[in-house]
């Protein structure tokens, strides 16, 4: 490897990492938290079979899953201003990423909720608890435990998808790689480098996921 290329890589690494830690990761965490809240609400509405709201949730999932993330980003950031809705790039990215991943996570949560036997709900009623109490103490804890691996996957997917925010001018890690590359024209080296940093982040996340799974209660079952 020639010295110039090596110097470019060494110089860019801390810059890329900085944008990774300061923008990509916060963007991932905020979007994921938003997605989690939406997903749980959408899943609960479907689980409880609330009329009308249930139809709205199905419609939302249908729209989100049926259109590309990139198109959604463009619609919100470049499209909405023409009807007077102007959202800054970063919050727009959080909104779109959150609502996008939530559609998938809602299905994960719904499946996890339905995997908790209805008999436990009946038993809860028979000892005097109401619906909300049963959900909080019995059904949701079990559903989260079941959904945990799949939710971890969603978070990893989301981390990578934050790179798409570059297309709506969010200065995150991938956008920073593009900017540096615009100066030095070393696409292979720079995009390779940024790919490695994404890989590093995802590897750490999957460790966390595995560690969390081991730590989480298995309720005396044999899942390990």
């Amino acid at each position: 490897m020639n010295e110039r290329l090596w110097n470019i890589l060494v110089d860019s690494f801390p810059k890329l990492l900085r944008y990774g830690v300061e923008v990509t990761i916060p963007l991932t965490i905020l979007s994921f938290l938003l997605a989690l809240v939406i997903a749980v609400i959408v899943a609960l509405i479907q689980y409880a079979n609330v009329k009308v709201l249930r139809q709205i949730c199905r419609f939302y999932i249908w729209i989100i899953r049926g259109t590309p993330l990139l198109v959604q980003l463009y619609l919100v950031f470049y499209g909405l201003p023409s009807v007077g809705v102007v959202i800054d790039a970063f919050p727009a990215a959080v909104l779109v990423l959150g609502f996008n991943e939530a559609a998938y996570m809602a299905e994960t949560m719904r499946g996890a909720l339905e995997s908790v036997s209805r008999g436990q709900m009946e038993a809860g009623y028979c000892v005097g608890m109401n619906y909300v109490q049963i959900m909080m103490h019995v059904v949701l804890p079990q559903a989260f435990r079941t959904a945990f691996p799949a939710l971890g996957n969603s978070m990893i997917a989301m981390l990578k998808e934050t790179s798409m925010a570059a297309t709506i001018t969010v200065m995150e890690m991938f956008r920073q790689a593009q900017v540096i590359n615009g100066r030095v024209y070393e696409s292979l080296a720079l995009y390779g480098e940024v790919a490695l940093i994404y890989l590093l982040f995802c590897t750490i996340l999957s460790w966390v996921q595995r560690f969390g799974e081991k730590r989480l209660a298995t309720y005396g079952g044999n899942r390990s």
Binding site: S117, Q120, E122, V127, Q133, V138, Y219, N222
Partner: protein
């Protein structure tokens, strides 16, 4: 009379499951609800605790009249407070320990202090012989042990009556005895019980009344001994005979 049930009707779409069931229960009665599969026994029991909504029917509980079809949410809560329900599949809360399973209703629904609830729960678990497994999870217990925990969970609210829905039907044969022993002990202590069961020995020797159902109707009801020794109806005679033959 502690509990009077009149004219319970229930239909699932085209299928009429209950065609007007009546039952009178005195304090301390142990009523065995018998009948072939599909006769509506379980549905009848579930209607009494509003796990199913009856289409029609009336219940007089401690002199208070309730409409089994139109009971309000508050009425349902009141009736459930006086009763406990034991399921065929135990339905323990799988994310809770044995102790938590028994205290959850007290602390969450009854707003009882944790220490006090624990004390009551341990006492109930002692009654069913499960006080040595307080911190185990349901998945670590045998079916018989789970069912005994489920009975303890019912006992802690001091119910006036306990409904048992085929409490031993999901159990391996060698585990049935331990659950029946607990139920027999409760009966001897004077607990009022309604038991849907296929255990003829229990029906004959522990219960004092039998309600024999077939096709959503009451075929015969009366004292257990009379039912087994002098069944009045042809249908009852056939049923008893088929059970005795199946045993051979």
């Amino acid at each position: 009379m502690m509990l009077e049930i009149k004219n319970v009707h229930k239909r699932f779409e085209a299928l009429e499951v209950l065609k007007g069931i009546d039952l009178n229960v005195n304090k301390g009665d142990v009523v065995a609800i018998l009948g072939p599969s599909g006769s509506g026994k379980t549905t009848f029991l579930r209607c009494l605790n509003f796990l199913e909504r009856a289409d029609q029917g009336e219940m007089v509980f401690d002199g208070e009249r309730f409409d089994l079809h139109a009971a309000s949410r508050a009425d349902v809560a009141r009736i459930r407070k006086k009763t406990a329900f034991v399921f065929q599949n135990y339905n323990l809360f799988l994310n809770k320990t044995v102790l938590q399973n028994v205290t959850l209703g007290l602390t969450v629904a009854g707003k009882m202090k944790k220490d006090q609830a624990n004390e009551i729960a341990v006492e109930a678990l002692r009654r069913v012989g499960m006080a040595d497994k307080l911190n185990n999870y349901p998945a670590q217990l045998s079916g018989g042990q789970q069912q005994r925990v489920a009975i303890a969970r019912g006992l802690v609210s001091n119910p006036e009556i306990i409904y048992f829905d085929e409490p031993t039907s999901a159990l391996d044969p060698e585990l049935i005895g331990e659950v029946l022993a607990v139920m027999r002990q409760l009966a001897e202590e004077g607990m009022t019980m309604l038991v849907v069961t296929h255990e003829m020995d229990f029906a004959r020797h522990v219960s004092n009344k039998v309600l024999f159902m077939a096709d959503g109707n009451v075929v015969e009801s009366g004292p257990s001994q009379e039912f087994f020794e002098h069944p009045q109806q042809e249908r009852s005679r056939e049923f008893i005979k088929s059970i005795l033959e199946a045993r051979k």
